[in-house]
């Protein structure tokens, strides 16, 4: 009767829900690509099956009783209660099961902690809202931001996320690691607590400001592994993915060499056309500014000031440079921006139609004079 009708209706709704979206989904944990993640997967399955087994036993008993011991069937209630033997049995059996679970679990806890004897170290710093990676052995360091396609799409409700490959799970510069090497990670944070998670590696670890956490991995298979920040870290918590690319050692070495070279290169301060300045400026804006000042430059009332029509942005250029480099009590100092990126950014924010500004000027990288003295 009613009950079956509702069940039917729900099933239809579920089918509709499934029909409208086409994407691969999984129902269970993935095995992952490390020994550790495989160990944790097996542990997960063991406990899951124990729960399923207990569930079938308990619910089976209960539903048998519900079906047979009902008044409408004329069943008379028996008045038994309190049975010490039964009560002891149903205390001891779960205890034994728990001990059985605790043994492999203890081993896994100890395995998770085995950071000793690592062959290389990577420092990971969580910041609102991107990750910073530093290869402690080679000195290579870079920031890893949400990729531009996802960044633009999630800020514009007219764009369909389904057209973006790896929507919200892609970054501009992934963390690159060699396969088969034991890597020690050091986690910390620059502002609030973040948490670094790649399911395929088998764990997540919190990045706490002012403290350092450790974890380790050794990736078995080359590939791209994606994850996200898992500790609520403010407005754009959902938009700071983690991407790890694991490569064979020789490829990794080549990547490391190229990255190091690029890092040691002085920025190119030659003149650019206005269009180039504007186009590159947009990228710099999307990476560094959009989280607070928004894609339309309107900021967020009560939180972040608007750039649209702001006298600070459209006024004196030198003051603007100093302002961006020095930061304020609310805005971080962007002295990390090289002169070319700063010039691109400033040209962009003063002239971008998207931000509603149109000063009509530009600044070339070599015209940036340091307005912020780094001697502290």
């Amino acid at each position: 009767m009613k009950k079956t009708k509702q069940l039917l209706a729900c099933l239809v709704l579920m089918a509709l829900g499934l029909g409208t979206a086409h994407a691969d989904y999984t129902l269970n944990l993935m095995k992952g690509v490390t020994q550790l993640s495989n160990e944790l997967y097996d542990l997960h399955m063991l406990i899951l099956w124990i729960c399923v087994f207990i569930g079938i036993a308990v619910f089976g008993t209960m539903f048998y009783s519900i079906y047979h011991h009902r008044k409408s069937k004329g069943h008379k209630a028996e008045q038994f209660h309190e049975n010490t033997t039964v009560e002891i049995i149903w205390t001891i059996i779960p205890t034994l099961i728990l001990v059985g679970m605790a043994i492999p679990a203890t081993k896994a806890v100890i395995d998770l902690d085995k950071v000793q004897d690592s062959e290389m170290s990577i420092k990971v710093t969580g910041k609102q809202w991107y990750w910073e990676y530093e290869y402690l052995d080679s000195g290579v360091h870079f920031e890893s931001h949400l990729d531009e396609a996802s960044e633009k799409t999630h800020r514009d409700s007219s764009m369909d996320p389904r057209n973006v490959p790896n929507y919200l799970l892609n970054v501009d510069k992934p963390l690159v690691v060699p396969v088969g090497k034991k890597i020690r990670f050091l986690f910390t944070a620059g502002d609030v607590i973040h948490s670094w998670w790649v399911p395929d590696l088998g764990w997540k670890k919190d990045a706490n400001p002012g403290f350092i956490n450790e974890a380790w991995t050794s990736v078995d298979k080359p590939g791209t592994y994606r994850g996200q920040c898992t500790e609520l870290c403010g407005r754009d918590h959902g938009f700071m993915p983690v991407v790890v690319v694991a490569m064979e050692q020789d490829q990794y070495d080549a990547w490391m060499k190229a990255t190091l070279e690029k890092q040691n290169q002085a920025p190119d301060l030659s003149d650019q056309t206005r269009n180039t300045l504007m186009a590159k400026g947009e990228s710099v804006y999307l990476k560094n500014c959009v989280a607070c000042h928004q894609i339309d430059g309107n900021g967020i009332s009560g939180w972040f000031p608007a750039l649209r029509g702001s006298a600070k942005v459209t006024g004196n250029m030198d003051q603007l440079i100093g302002f961006i480099q020095a930061g304020t009590s609310k805005m971080p100092a962007f002295k990390k921006l090289p002169d070319d990126e700063l010039a691109e950014l400033i040209t962009y924010i003063r002239n971008a139609p998207a931000l509603g500004n149109n000063v009509g000027d530009e600044i070339q990288p070599n015209k940036i004079t340091p307005k912020w003295d780094d001697d502290e």
Binding site: K2, K3, C10, L13, G17, L18, T20, A23, D24, Y25, T26, L27, N28, M30, E39, H44, I47, C51, G55, F59, S65, H69, R70, K71, S72, H75, K76, A77, F80, H81, E82, V86, E87, W90, T91, P94, L98, A102, V109, I110, H154, S157, M159, P161, L168, D191, V192, I193, S195, W197, P199, G202, W203, K204, D206, F211, L232, C233, G238, G302
Partner: protein, 538 residues
């Protein structure tokens, strides 16, 4: 029972025992039944406020992409949904039940401290209104999660100190309510009602009250430290000044873990009250239920760091908190086995309260299973802060605490109003709720295992399908709760028209004292102690 009526008549000449007229009755009342009603109505209202916030969340998550709200407002919604549901809906509703039922179950004329009772209710209202007012402040309502983790919490706008002051008020209100419960139970039991003859609902509330008194000051202390860190230059939680943000998490969860048991222990009590009545059998193991409740309460104090397995703890800490947490499965198992054994060879009927109670046993156990899975620290490195935990704690709160609150409503409404509720609509409400709550929360297990973090307003495409299913379930569940409001109002106004007996449910008076007074329960009950205590069932 005749004794009660006769006694009432004796006093009738001297002064009026009935309630005052008009709105002042509700503002100044010190009557435990009036205050119980106030708490229950307030809890129900907040259930819909918190529910509306949940629907904002589920609407945004219906499809990938940002459609309706700004991410910051989304974060405010998750934060406020939790605070309103915990402190505005579930806790007040159980205090309401305690107010109504504890005096009637132990044969006392009222709560021990009636004026404080009134004060604690109105302080609750003040606290929740203060919290709600933050929604309209510059920078929006708190958006750092209901756990208020520093340093994120310091980034809240103007709402920060208001939210903390609100927590202080709610805490004071809870402590006063808890003191009242303890004082009533220890001092006002009818002669012959020893502790081990008290109905289980009274027992579970007694233990809950001790939990509240132990933890609320800890919470108040933690948030006050946040306040001084922000405004008075202390650095309890700031590494730059020698503090530690993780310290806050330890303090918070020392409060937070018992706090979730505050919401579930009275649930156990109500289930243990309802199931025997409809199975027409005594509760299988009364004493073991009492001890199991005590054991769960004790364990709740020593497992807090299982909420923070990934925060960076030494191996010894991980192992200790893992073992201690796993232990909780034992007394909880005892409870589930007890309920099952109580149904076994009974003579069951399936009125709405029983339906909700059976669903509670099954679905709470599912929440228990996922809890057991997460107690295993190494695997929690995968589960932690994903939708798996969202599914887990909603299973232990919605089809557990909320279902049992609904069951309690159906179970005692006839006693409170003297009218019978509409069983047909009641069952419709049950089936809609039981089916939709699973459509709502079961897919969230899949989402979590597949890698979707909690507290995100937008997600990768592979999470789209199950989010949509979950949102559909949320809307069916949310709107079907309106049936409950209809039923409550309808019952108050006469219900089915059938006048219920004192006992209401078959042989209920064998189980507990409230079924020995007339229906509706008169404004004052047990002005003289009951002549006889229903003991054969304990």
């Amino acid at each position: 029972m005749t004794a009660v009526v006769a006694e009432h008549d004796d006093h009738h000449d001297h002064h009026d025992h009935g309630p005052e007229k008009g709105v002042l009755r509700w503002i100044f009342t010190t009557n435990h039944k009036d205050i119980g009603t106030l708490y229950l109505v307030f809890g129900l209202a907040m259930f819909f406020v918190g529910g509306a916030m949940a629907l904002v969340i589920r609407s945004e998550l219906f499809e990938p992409g940002l459609q309706f709200v700004d991410p910051n407002f989304f974060n405010s919604m998750t934060t406020m949904h939790a605070l309103v549901m915990v402190f505005g809906a579930v806790m007040p509703a159980f205090v309401g039940l305690a107010n109504w039922m504890i005096p009637m179950m132990i044969g006392a004329p009222d709560m021990a401290l009636p004026r404080m009772n009134n004060m604690s209710f109105w302080m609750l209202v003040a606290g929740v209104l203060l919290l709600a007012s933050t929604l309209f402040m510059e920078g929006g309502a708190p958006s750092g999660g209901w756990t208020f983790y520093p340093p994120l919490v310091f980034q809240n706008g103007k709402s920060f100190p208001f939210a903390i002051f609100s927590v202080h008020l709610l805490g004071i209100s809870s402590i006063m309510g808890a003191i009242n419960v303890i004082a009533t139970i220890f001092n006002m039991r009818a002669p012959g009602m020893t502790l081990m003859k008290m109905p289980l609902f009274v027992w579970t509330w007694l233990i809950t009250a001790f939990l509240l008194i132990a933890i609320m000051p800890v919470f108040a202390g933690a948030v006050t430290m946040l306040l001084t860190d922000k405004f008075f230059d202390t650095s309890f939680f700031d590494a730059a000044g020698g503090g530690d943000p993780v310290l806050y998490q330890h303090i918070f969860w020392f409060f937070g873990h018992p706090e979730v048991y505050v919401m579930i222990l009275p649930t156990f009590g109500v289930a243990s009250t309802i199931i025997p009545v409809f199975a027409r059998k005594p509760l299988f193991g009364y004493a073991s239920m009492v001890y199991a409740t005590g054991a769960i309460a004790f364990l709740s104090f020593i497992v807090w760091a299982h909420h923070m397995f990934t925060v960076g703890m030494p191996v010894a800490g991980e192992l200790y908190f893992m073992y201690a947490t796993m232990l909780i499965a034992i007394p909880t198992g005892v409870k589930v086995f007890n309920w099952t054994a109580t149904m076994w060879k009974g003579s069951m009927t399936f009125e709405t309260p029983m339906l909700f109670s059976i669903a509670f046993v099954v679905l709470f156990t599912m929440g228990g299973f996922t809890g057991l899975m997460m107690s295993v620290a190494p695997v929690d490195f995968q589960y932690h802060d994903t939708y798996f935990i969202v599914a887990h704690f909603h299973y232990t709160l919605v089809p557990a605490s909320i279902f049992i609150l609904m069951a309690a409503g159906y179970f005692w409404l006839p006693k409170w109003t003297g009218n019978m509720y509409n069983e047909k609509i009641g069952r419709l409400h049950f089936w809609l709720s039981a089916v939709s709550v699973n459509i709502l929360f079961f897919p969230q297990h899949f989402l979590g295992l597949a890698g979707m973090p909690r507290r995100i307003p937008d997600y990768a495409i592979q999470f789209a399908d199950w989010n949509m299913v979950s949102s559909i379930g949320a809307f069916i569940y949310g709107f079907s709760q309106l049936l409950f409001v209809y039923i409550v109002i309808d019952t108050i106004r006469g219900g089915t028209g059938e006048k219920v007996s004192d006992e209401v449910w078959e042989d209920a008076s064998k189980h507990s004292l409230e079924w020995t007074v007339p229906s509706p329960a008169p404004y004052h009950t047990f002005s003289t102690p009951p002549a006889r205590i229903p003991t054969e069932h304990f």
